[in-house]
Amino acid sequence: MVRTRVVIKYLGYILLFNALFLFIAALISLYHRESTLNALLFSATMCAALGTFPYLFVEKVDELRFHEGLAISVLGWLLTCIVGMMPYYIWGGEFTLTNAFFESVSGFTTTGASILTNVEALPMGLLFWRSSTSFIGGVGIILFVLLVLPEKKGVQSSFYRAEVSDLSKMSFRTRSRHIVRIIATVYFSLIITETILLKALGMSFFDAVCHSLSTIATSGFSTRNLSIAAFNDARIEMVITLFMLLSSMHFGLIYATMTGKKHNIFTSRPSRMYMIVVATGILLIAFQLFHEARYSLGDSFRYAAFQVVSLTSTTGLVTADTSLWPLFSIVLLIYFSFQCGMVGSTAGGIKFDRIYLFFHSVSKQLKLILHPNGIYAVRMDKRTIEHELELQVMVFIILYIFTFFVTALLLSLMGLDGVTAFSASFATIGNVGPGYGDVSSFGNYAAMPDAAKYLLSANMLLGRLEIMNIFALFMMAGRK
């Protein structure tokens, strides 16, 4: 049974965490004397007051039940998205109620899909808040809360079960209570390193911070209307490409590489396969772009590498309008929008590990057809995958594709053209951001009907919470 007051208490912590970032954004607004100051300060005060309230009444708990962890995880995301829209909506401009909600969900789920036609018109305080939403959503707000709060083991383990997938836990090869520390170390190290590099390459400090947050969280929010194309600097693109790739890899493996462990991104088989697949994609697209004389050889590699890594990492930053590329390249990019990064990273989508596991399961089934009495096991990095986990992966992939089709169908019912409907659906459920048609690389979601924006927001949340958690919560509520 779920103890409502405990759920409320942790939701309060989440509000307090949001309030902290809102206050920082308000300070930036204050420094630049911007019109967003009131909106940010007011939102921060409201969040802080509502977040403190449950803390006053509910006492500390020693243990958190799994269902409570699940409820806090799902409701925490929803609450964060609702709270996150407050400064946008109060400030106004292009932000109607629907647009503010869409932008907030897009930020927290690190999708990076925007309704803004002129990002550069936003005051810096609001731009920082927009980047902060990605930063918070990158590793998940619950994990952030765990990092700040010295919670007991019983509480932490429930959150891990709700927030970190079983497949992801496998590559951490450590006790669950160390996982948060590892994730935080990698997350902050990558952000700090990228900020320093971007600043050194000539970006302003503010742009460097915002783009680092956006890259490592794989959200794709930029401070410029033309995204990274606005800088037109190959060195900046190379740095961002490298960090996008790192952000799409398992943080446990990155930590292992950083600390010189044997099992790292270069020795792990799925990780190596992932890099090979990405490199093959880049080569194929670059070859076609060069062959069709779209760009010079160097530029073909530059744009192909950036776009492939941007989409597979679900970042969605842009340097070229990919909708103008040849069809084969577009199809490959669509594949990468589905495949996405690895588990244990900040990327969304199906995840490469699941696809890797899927093909191994298929191979196992084929062997079983040939040798019905044989005993075969699916192995990943020398570890046998339990049948239950194998089944879980299959169910996830089926649910993912099913949700994608249902959303596309509903979008086309709302009057959107086929290309826009399908690409908006895969771009949001995979938390990628840009798609094709009206929502192409340099396009945005502003022209969509309000109902479509709400549907896509739900899609983004489903994608971020890996579908199963939301369905599990609905089942739990239904049973109650």
Binding site: F42, L50, I90, G93
Partner: protein, 303 residues
């Protein structure tokens, strides 16, 4: 002094020493030594219900205060915008209209002069010239837009050229036919060009006024927003407060009531299962102390 004698109460109040002392009057009175009382829970661990309520209501006050302050600031900003529109754009528009009117009159004055009404025409021209100069000064005083100085300079330039042409007709004392020809060939085009520049200033300020009105509309929306949000937050707050009052006030009262109702001495301790460390827990402890004293007294042999 009589040595206190140990007694074992039938129920398990473990912390009590179950000892009695005689009162100073010598009367055999059974009281518990202060040390023997069950210790109340540590004060530092208590989260007083009073404090909880006071703090939570303070939070509500903070929220409402934030909403009020933000509304006031936005209304003040809105007031500033309205003042800006009235003081700057509206004054410039008025000045431009005056210029336009005076230009028309100056042109009419010239035409009067050409058709022979020289005195009236000359008076009209001079009066209009004074009005235009004064309106230009007003426009210079109310420069608020980026492009405004350029527009005013254009007006000054084009009007000076036009007025010079008018004066050349007036001072040359030309015959009407020749004056008419000069008017048609030169002065009229200068008049139109001066009018155009004044019109540009008028348009600029009108556009800015429209833009300002949009800003005012935005600010009024922002001023209203805190009210809506704080209303929603207050509703949420009220719901939460009701929930917590139910959990932390009504439920313990109900538990205590039920445990008192179901209590009988053989049960020993009154166990209301109050999990919180607040006044209700203290009340439960004190009730147990009271029960232990009463039961212990009942067990004492009568004198």
């Amino acid at each position: 002094m009589h040595t206190p004698k140990a007694h074992h109460l039938p129920f398990g109040v473990c912390s009590l020493k179950k000892e009695a002392i005689l009162s100073a009057t010598g009367e055999k009175k059974l009281i518990l030594h202060p040390e023997n009382r069950q210790q109340p829970i540590q004060t530092t661990m208590i989260r007083s219900l009073q404090i909880k309520l006071v703090l939570s209501l303070s939070l509500l006050v903070v929220m409402l205060l934030a909403a009020a302050v933000m509304s006031m600031m936005e209304f003040r900003n809105m007031g500033d915008s309205v003042k800006g529109v009235l003081n700057n754009n509206f004054s410039s528009i008025e000045a431009a209209k005056r210029m336009m009117d005076a230009l028309e009159r100056e042109d009419s004055g010239l035409l009067l002069w050409i058709i022979g009404e020289q005195e009236e025409g000359s008076q009209t021209i001079h009066a209009s010239h004074a009005i235009i100069r004064s309106a230009l000064e007003d426009a210079v005083k109310n420069i608020t837009e980026t492009d405004e100085p350029r527009h005013i300079s254009d007006i000054t330039e084009s009007y000076d050229a036009y007025h010079a042409s008018v004066l050349s007709i007036l001072e040359g004392a030309l015959p009407p036919a020749e004056a008419k020809e000069i008017y048609n060939s030169e002065t009229q085009s200068l008049f139109f060009s001066a009018k155009e520049t004044v019109n540009a200033l008028l348009m600029l300020n009108q556009e800015q006024m429209y833009h300002q009105s949009e800003i005012i509309q935005e600010r009024s929306r922002r001023a209203m927003m805190p009210a809506f949000i704080s209303l929603a937050a207050a509703v949420l707050f009220a719901l939460l407060l009701f929930y917590f009052i139910r959990i932390y006030f009504f439920r313990p009262v109900k538990k205590l009531t039920e445990s008192i109702r179901d209590y009988y001495p053989e049960k020993g301790r009154l166990d209301a299962c109050i999990a919180t460390r607040d006044e209700f827990k203290q009340l439960e402890e004190e009730m147990n102390n009271l029960i232990s004293r009463l039961l212990w007294r009942r067990e004492q042999p009568k004198e």
